[in-house]
């Protein structure tokens, strides 16, 4: 835990400054009012959810090429943390949608493809739990993770490709898109804080898996010694 401090303190600091900016510094949006502040957590959660599956994709490819357990650990950890952030998107989204759209949920392309991403994460984690052979688990989940990542461009592009209830992107979504400078600053700060938080949780999760591997090795060593002693 001690060596994680270099990541822990900047993360905490960024979160605290973000909270100040979200609730005090950023102005209230004129059409949606106070509830628009959900945006500063909702979009960064979605970004880290995408980051998670991107890491699963990247680490899975490296695992299949190098056959190195370290990449399998990184992919598995990224999937778990990514699933947490995607869950946060699925919670904050409906709570933002209800006062604005009048409904919590609709099966439009954006929301459905995001829900599919969440199911992909759950499927990946479930697959890892169900497969007992470590080699089979690592290989099959790597393939599953690579295929599952195909959903991310669909989620990202869905409101550009199809007519959706979900609004067009706030940035890069055409001429009418964009943010007021203080809102943009708050958003980018929150995005940075969430990215740091993602990497902190990812490192913590990797460490647990590394320790579990060490434990497994010690178990084997002890069994060998006991058998030799007989």
């Amino acid at each position: 835990m001690r060596s994680l401090n270099w990541l822990l303190f900047p993360t905490l600091l960024l979160i605290l400054i973000s909270l100040y900016c979200i609730f005090i510094y950023a102005p209230t949006e004129s059409s949606m009012g106070e509830v628009q502040r959900i945006f500063y957590f909702h979009v960064p959660s979605a970004w880290t959810g995408f980051l998670g599956i991107f890491l699963v994709f990247f680490c899975s490819i490296l695992f299949l090429i190098k056959n190195d357990r370290a990449w399998d650990i990184r992919a598995a950890a990224a999937a778990e943390v990514g699933a947490i952030f995607t869950t946060m998107v699925l919670i904050s989204g409906p709570l933002w949608a209800k006062p604005i759209w009048g409904i919590y949920w609709t099966w439009d392309a954006k929301l459905t493809s995001l829900f599919v991403l969440w199911l992909i994460y759950l499927g990946y984690l479930l697959l890892r739990r169900l497969l007992e052979s470590p080699i089979q688990r690592a290989r099959l989940s790597a393939v599953f993770g690579i295929i599952g990542a195909i959903d991310v461009p669909i989620v990202y592009m869905s409101n550009r490709w199809w007519r959706t209830q979900h609004p067009q992107p706030v940035m890069g979504g055409g001429e009418s898109s964009g943010l007021e400078p203080s809102m943009l600053f708050t958003f980018l700060l929150s995005l940075t804080a969430f990215t740091f938080l993602f990497f902190l949780l990812w490192r913590m999760r990797c460490r647990i898996e590394e320790s579990a591997d060490r434990l497994e090795a010690l178990h084997r060593e002890l069994n060998t010694r006991l058998q030799e002693g007989k």
Binding site: V35, I38, I84, S92, L197, L201, M204, L218
Partner: protein, 45 residues
Amino acid sequence: MNFLFAAYTAIWIVLSWYLFSLSRRQKRVENELTRMEAKIKESLK
């Protein structure tokens, strides 16, 4: 305002639960490691 409060509360509950779960798992594995290392030392005697 209620929806804003609900969203932020829910997010912090999910994050806190996950952090708690991570630290509990880390502690459990570390305790087990210490116990196993002691067993191995004992088997060397």
